[in-house]
Symmetry: C2
Subunit: 222 residues, 2 copies
């Protein structure tokens, strides 16, 4: 059974978190949410939930500081970094998160970023490659200032799979392969983001199987 | 500021709950989630969250037994009943929920049902009218057995606004009007469901304003 870590923090966009987690569970992926503390937060008085960007409080499965989440990367197959401005700021400024992103990619594992979550590609100092994000952080991801070198090759596509980092494992299950990073546009595209992750982890057949009972309106382009 | 009660129970589909709550908050609607206890649950040992259908635990804002939620309906403008088979069963079999649905509709307020949540239209003994739902409960909503009279005029449309119960208030704000019930297809259509509620509560302009930064892929049909 493939497995995924889905990060969560105060200010995480709760639709992006929930759509990704729920869709992966529907595909049979073992999901664990890992709470990333804000640097200013009192770790001696922990609370068991994250405050979403629109006020929904979600209980997390574990705290990111737990050994199974910290680098060196554990046996998880995918790492998901959702958006929400404040949550993405907390995640992208965490040295441990940055290190985990680099380790996942070095091992050819999947890293999915959505919305402002793509900021972590910048703070993790990933090499220049295709990428997308919420428009609100586009300028930061493209370049810091006029005439400076491009950080990333910014795309307006709803889902970007960075081909520069695509790797394919010749393992026993031909439908499973790892690529990284996946980075994505925003809440409205959380469904195609999540379905793309399902396809990468479990194959195209599983994607179709998970999508069907969701009964998207006709002509939905994903 | 318009306001909404969004029901939640163990087994509620967490995407449907979250997308609706989050989208309404983006529109400036004051949302309160109200936890409906399963009849078998020990009310002397309450826990502060609901278990979603795919394992996400969401803290609720209040328990449905609180006076502000029970009939006679309070000052809330809309009532939302999400799906998820087990959660919808709990809600639809609650006499207090059924009574609240009837009161909201009698007062010309909005009742939105999505996915299996539409079962509550049946248990609340609403009159025959257009309705939709997740395909898994279609047979129950249409008629109990061959040759029995139709319960509802079942539609395959992603969003059905029951015109039979449409009422329009000639209040000061021409963009606000109440209709009921709205019932809807499933998780994949949670976005158009939520955006329809925004339009009914806050007007078409607000719907467009909330939808834009969600950056749905081009050609998305809602």
């Amino acid at each position: 059974m493939p497995s995924a870590i889905i990060l969560i923090a105060d200010g995480t966009e709760e639709m992006e978190f929930t759509i990704t987690y729920d869709t992966l569970v529907r595909a049979g992926v073992a999901c664990q949410s890992a709470y990333v503390r804000n640097a200013a937060e009192d770790s001696t008085a922990p609370r068991p939930y994250a405050h979403g960007s629109r006020g929904i409080r979600i209980m997390y499965d574990a705290v990111f500081e737990a050994p199974q989440f910290l680098p060196p990367a554990s046996g998880y197959d995918a790492l998901v970094i959702p958006g929400g401005a404040k949550g993405a700021e907390t995640m992208s400024s965490s040295a441990a998160v940055q290190e985990l992103v680099r380790e996942f990619l070095a091992q050819g594992k999947i890293v999915g970023m959505i919305c402002a979550g793509s900021l972590t590609a910048l703070t993790s100092k990933l090499p220049r490659q295709p990428l997308t994000s919420h428009p609100s952080v586009k300028a930061q991801l493209e370049k810091i200032e006029q005439n400076s070198p491009l950080h990333f090759d910014y795309s307006e596509d709803p889902v970007v799979i960075s081909s520069k980092l695509v790797t394919r494992h010749s393992n026993l299950n031909p439908s499973r392969h790892s690529r990284g990073p996946v980075s994505l546009f925003i809440a409205g595209t959380a469904f195609p983001f999540a379905l793309t992750l399902v396809e990468m982890l479990c194959g195209a057949e599983k994607r179709a199987e998970v999508r069907a009972p969701m009964v998207f309106p006709a002509a939905t382009p994903f």
